[in-house]
């Protein structure tokens, strides 16, 4: 196959333009995050004057220092870590307990149970009945009120079940002939084979918990149990005046007044830093998880 010179040139112009457009778009996706980082390190004067665009103007870390002195954001972060770690563990245990038996075609009544589960995915009961249930069970202001109603994501359950159905049955059979029971087969044979899907689903569950906002908003009012998202959004709506005017002792005489914008920016940066740090390592699992799920959703 031979291309004429003009055509080859047109091809490379096209390719160049494509690379350029993509670079532009991904910068556009990233810029708002970068803008917040730049703001968080800028002086209150520069922020108020609208001078921050690409780089921090009059670099300083006062907003961060103020947030650290206040400490509430770190309590919220610790809470979020606990909520995420325990929540994800519960999710995975329950999803495995559901997916393994339901992936065994010999199980009597399997279709009826699957139908029960599928219907619950189609008819979504509203906010209020769920709220009343959690209140009735006495789970308000407790993380159990967040964990228990969200033990299984039905979609993720189906992803794992499909994965398990695709594993070669011979391995399980030979173990059964050797006298292994269902629990032993699950723990010693299925779980190791399911590592990739468990990794992917753990990440989906964990991101969900890390970002959870609405359920925390309606079920948790105890401020010592507040999580990052809710704490952060409260700050975004209204920065506590005491955070702005107080001067740290070491600064002495100089009365430094912070802007709400600078504080909010610093809070946002603190909140997303953990995600940015783990993101490069997790990225391939995310994509794999979506693709496994799409084989048959």
């Amino acid at each position: 196959m031979k291309m004429s010179g003009a055509k080859r040139q047109a091809g490379s112009v096209w390719t160049g333009a494509n690379y350029f457009i993509l670079a532009l778009l991904s910068l556009a996706a990233l810029y708002p995050l970068w803008y917040v980082v730049a703001s968080s390190f800028s002086s209150s004067r520069a922020i108020t004057a609208g001078e921050v665009f690409l780089w921090p103007v009059e670099f300083n870390v006062l907003s961060y220092r103020r947030l650290m002195e206040d400490g509430q954001l770190f309590v919220a972060m610790k809470n979020t870590v606990i909520l995420t770690a325990v929540g994800t563990l519960f999710n995975i245990v329950m999803t495995v307990l559901a997916a393994y038996p339901l992936s065994r075609r010999r199980l009597m009544g399997r279709n009826s149970i699957l139908m029960l589960i599928t219907f619950s995915m189609l008819f979504i009961s509203g906010i209020i009945p769920n709220f009343i249930l959690v209140k009735f069970l006495g789970l308000m202001d407790s993380y159990w009120g967040l964990w228990l109603p969200a033990l299984i994501s039905t979609y993720n359950l189906f992803v794992m079940k499909t994965f398990m159905e695709g594993l070669p049955e011979e391995i399980e059979e030979s173990a059964a002939i050797d006298g292994a029971g269902d629990w032993l087969i699950l723990v010693r044979i299925m779980l190791p084979l399911c590592k990739p899907i468990i990794a992917a689903l753990s990440l989906f569950y964990a991101v969900g918990w890390w970002n959870s906002y609405f359920s925390v908003l309606i079920y948790i009012s105890d401020t010592t149990k507040q999580t990052l998202s809710v704490k952060l959004y409260q700050m975004i709506l209204q920065v506590d005046q005491s955070l702005l005017t107080n001067v740290s002792g070491s600064e002495g005489a100089s009365q430094i007044v912070l802007t709400p914008e600078g504080l909010k920016a610093a809070a946002i940066v603190i909140a997303i830093t953990p995600i940015l740090l783990v993101y490069p390592f997790l990225q391939k699992h995310f994509v794999k998880g979506v693709l496994i799920g799409s084989v048959k959703g």
Binding site: W14, L22, I124, S125, P129, G181, I236, V295
Partner: protein, 338 residues
């Protein structure tokens, strides 16, 4: 895990005397044909550990999925917490009548549908276009890098992204207004407080978060197109654009169709958290949707029954849409949701 393995799996399945599908050659699944009753017991005993595993799972679905469904009956009652669900008085369809007579209902219904239309018309094609661009990149490291950067916003919560959107669009300190002012000489625009601009800002922020992530399935579909088709087209002298038009787009047609139909199934819902963090008092006339209304009026003003009626209305319409959509998927000759 590949489709191949799933297909091999399917080939191993045969029918048993009880019509249940079991893997071929599995001696321990063959049970007595003559005494069905005894056979059922034996199968139950054999799989007792599997049922034990399912016990908490079934309990979970009954308590946390089906009990709230039953709880929907308070839409037909005057629910008071002290009386409980069963003790509260029946009022028939009164709450529904109130709902359909209130201007609030029509306002939130209109907003829900409108924001959905914006999301669909502006947001749905973006991941497809993005995937087409990414698919043309031959340098693997460049493609991977671009994908990772574009996926990123999807993993950040709306509480954070909402804060960033508000900061960027602020009329006094936001960078968007700064550029508009310095480059085009335009007076500051109150994006988040203006009923005209809010839906636009809302839709754009949604695209920002989800467009990159939305390319995953399209890229997978594109990767499975036979490369020989492109080779043949090149020999025929087809330009890049012609190749995209005649090979790539037809190749992902069924993916587009399924995703479009699935998207239609969520038509009664707009992202609760996104709406909640972006809305404010001055734009409620365009920003108040069913779910945020239920939250505000139902939970904060404790009118439980009235807003449950609204939620029930939404759920029933959504259920009808999902069932219809599934019919459509099957009519398209694709595998449905069930």
């Amino acid at each position: 895990m590949s489709d191949q393995a799933v297909n091999n799996q399917a080939a191993l399945i045969e029918e048993t005397p009880f019509g249940e599908k079991t893997p071929a050659g599995k001696e321990w699944t063959k049970v007595d044909k003559r005494k069905p009753g005894a056979a059922i017991v034996r199968r139950f005993v054999r799989d007792r550990h599997l049922y034990l595993m399912l016990l908490p799972v079934i309990g979970y679905y009954l308590i946390f999925k089906y009990a709230p469904m039953a709880g929907e009956i308070i839409a037909f009652k005057d629910y008071r917490f002290v009386d409980g669900i069963f003790g509260s008085k029946w009022v028939g369809l009164r709450h529904f009548r109130m709902l359909f007579e209130s201007t609030d209902f029509w306002r939130v219904l209109r907003n829900t549908l409108l924001l959905n239309v914006y999301n669909l018309v502006l947001g749905f094609p973006v991941p497809i276009l993005l995937a087409l661009l990414l698919n043309e990149v031959r340098r693997e490291w460049y493609k991977k890098t671009m994908q990772n950067l574009l996926y990123l916003p999807h993993f950040i919560s709306w509480a954070v992204l909402g804060g960033i959107v508000i900061a960027m669009l602020s009329p006094s300190t936001g960078v968007v207004n700064m550029i508009l002012h310095n480059v085009f000489g335009i007076e500051p625009v109150y994006f988040m407080a203006s009923s005209n601009w809010w839906p636009f800002a809302y839709t754009m922020s949604g695209i920002w978060r989800e467009a990159g992530w939305g390319t995953v399935l399209y890229l997978a579909a594109m990767a499975s197109i036979d490369p020989q088709l492109y080779e043949a087209a090149k020999i025929d002298g087809a330009s890049k654009l012609r190749q995209i038009w005649h090979i790539t787009l037809p190749g992902i047609r069924s993916t587009i169709a399924i995703l479009l139909i699935l998207r239609m199934g969520q038509f009664m819902d707009v992202g609760l958290e996104q709406t909640l963090v972006l809305q404010n008092q001055s734009v409620l006339d365009v920003a108040d949707v069913i779910s945020t209304y239920v939250y505000r009026v139902g939970l904060q003003n404790a009118s439980y029954s009235y807003t449950t009626a609204l939620g029930l209305f939404q759920s029933v319409i959504a259920l009808i849409l999902v069932v219809t959509v599934n019919r459509l998927i099957r009519a398209f000759g694709e595998r449905g949701l069930w």
